[in-house]
Symmetry: C2
Subunit: 362 residues, 2 copies
DNA sequence: ATCACTAGCGTAAACGTTTACGGCGGTCCC
DNA sequence: GGGACCGCCGTAAACGTTTACGCTAGTGAT
């Protein structure tokens, strides 16, 4: 029951390929009638080889399908063309997106990536992972450290190669430098949006304070409130899960202490909240405005579609790779954090009754 | 503004580490007072070394922090301890979960993984990725091929090392063998659940037929219906997106052709459907039962919580790694597909009026 | 014609391992 | 006491590159 026709020649090609040993630089040299030194020179774009010879060698390389053996190169040059990525095992939204993007830009820059994911307790697993990466011979390491404990483990670990940490709002140290999205700005954007809508009682259903994301998003919410001269609202700290948010929403209903507007630390958090409200006849956004963070897939089809904050993982990956490779090659690279954007949908609306009629904009 | 105290000794440790060149097998030999041959023997657990000497060497290795240089080993043994993973760029739910699990079990088996993700058009990108992996020197490759086009590209590509494809319901070929979750069973489970609830008019809002997942899930739905002696229901083929499902739901409402029950090809699809219904006063599950597929994070907090099918990615990864490594080492490994499970929540309920009163179970 | 210089190329050594082989004591058996 | 054997260990060669150096033939100046 093949779904697709299988090309006849495929099998033949395979056996042919596996029989023939991988050609080496010497094979190329012999066929091209030069010494291996000359081949090496054309491989490395070195001077001291005539145009004609270069052409000929290049042709042979293409003909016999020569590819340079990376192990041999790494062995003799002592530098590697691979970089390691250390990530937390948790498949939460942010980390995974960053991971994919990272691999992409690394490959485009000629580096292979090998990723290792670690779990709690971080004290041991992080050092072990760093060692494994060192074993493999990576030239640099990017660690995606969403939780504070993991970052701490990285800070106190020993490592021979440059280490860059992607951790929102964490500080750089002499041996580990840090890069991140400006999530505090994202949180400010979300909160300011609510303020602009005329809300004055804006709560924050936060993520975990064990996560940098949780800390920084809270900080942004606080700052926006402060800058607007508003009193700090209610802040409930949780664990990112829809379940916890749901319980929290239920509690808010029970205590009849639902605020005008809520900045939820993540879309999943918003999801739990909204369900708790919906089950109790409280309408979003009519009775309470909610804005999330992450713009996960499907958040535009929640009930109602969620106003949220989107991060640009591709840009983040691009910049941080730039920074790491720069460090590996001894260059100094400018690093300004990338900025997230607010995407306004249906879960947030004007305060009712509006204290100040907001300027009308179609 | 450091969030965490930075250990004082960290900096000192780094410079110490980076100054000292990586110790080699010769360093170990010299310090232990043996020849490098002996050290090599203890490293490889070879015989012909006395217990006392082995102890001494092991101690030195630990003392000076020796770690074997993988490039050198790979060079001389011509076999590698790394495996390549080829994945589609699309960050859809399934692929990512599989990816993480794969890396985990590979590492536990002593293999490093390097993943490359490819994009359309697959004809070129797949061959290029395979070549890159070959460059790096992987000993085997697992490709996660959710879409048919990508699988086709793999089938017709040339590759020196064993290739295993994870693709639901695709067939094995001489050079590419296939492994997958039994998703057809998952779809049958979901459909059977609806049948057990007394529904007879069961539609399928399908995924894309360009995806194996889409094809196989549809096949399972058809089979379950057939086995129950039910007429084939309505089948709408889409693209997995909540947006498309939403439009489709709207159309169903417009035509007043909403079935008793719907098996949605994914949770995201279910999400779009439910929103379309909710906006038009059609209640789930009272007016229409919906079951999804994937059990994405948060699906237990949709409105209503979604009945869905969960796959065991960890088991899948474990099995398929077993199979690949077996192939790399020339062993033959048993491969029976892993099975998904149904998780019943609130989006599905009895048919109304129930044609047959279903047996009462608390 | 001689010299210095250079463009183009070849050669040797090194990178850190593994593997095949050879050697050297000691023990056992006749 | 002399061979055979074995446990333990050292040595050389190889893996496929890069890099430093050296050589040769041609060119231009004197």
């Amino acid at each position: 029951m093949p779904d697709i026709a299988i090309p006849r020649e495929a099998k033949a090609r395979l056996s042919e390929a596996s029989l023939r040993r991988k050609p080496t630089i010497n094979d190329v040299a012999r066929i091209a009638g030069v010494s291996f030194g000359t081949v090496s020179r054309v491989l490395n774009d070195a001077p001291d080889v005539s145009a004609a010879t270069r052409q000929r060698v290049l042709q042979v390389i293409k003909d016999i399908g020569y590819r340079r053996n990376r192990a041999a190169t790494a062995l003799v040059t002592r530098r590697s063309t691979s970089i390691g990525i250390l990530s937390a095992g948790s498949p939460r939204f942010g980390p995974v997106g960053t991971l994919m993007a990272l691999e992409n830009v690394a490959r485009k820059k000629g580096y292979a990536t090998t990723v290792i994911s670690v779990e709690q307790p971080y004290a041991e697993s992080v050092q072990a992972a760093l060692d494994t990466l060192d074993d493999i011979g990576v030239g640099g390491i990017i660690v995606i450290a969403p939780v504070v404990d993991m970052a701490a483990a990285v800070w106190s670990a020993a490592c021979r190669v440059p280490v860059e940490m992607i951790a929102a709002g964490a500080s750089s140290t002499p041996n580990v430098f840090t890069y991140s999205e400006n999530q505090e700005l994202g949180a400010r954007l979300a909160t300011q949006h609510l303020i602009d809508l005329g809300h004055t009682d804006i709560a924050h259903v936060a993520g975990s304070m064990d996560w940098f994301d949780g800390r920084v998003r809270k900080r942004g919410w606080e700052a926006a409130l402060r800058d607007a001269g508003l009193a700090p609202g209610l802040c409930l700290e949780g664990d990112w899960s829809p379940r916890w948010a749901y319980e929290t929403g239920l509690q808010l209903v029970r205590e009849d202490s639902i605020p005008q507007a809520i900045f939820a630390a993540s879309d999943h958090t918003a999801l739990g909240l909204i369900r708790a409200f919906a089950e109790n006849g409280i309408r979003v956004p009519d009775d309470v405005s909610v804005v999330g963070f992450d713009d996960i897939e499907g958040s535009d089809y929640f009930l109602p579609p969620l106003t949220t904050v989107r991060q640009d993982f591709t840009a983040l990956a691009l910049m941080s790779m730039e920074v790491l490779i720069g460090a590996m090659e001894g260059r100094e690279v400018d690093r300004t954090p990338t900025a997230p954007t607010l995407v306004v949908r249906k879960s947030s609306t004007h305060a009712t009754p509006p204290r100040v009629q907001p300027p009308k904009d179609t």
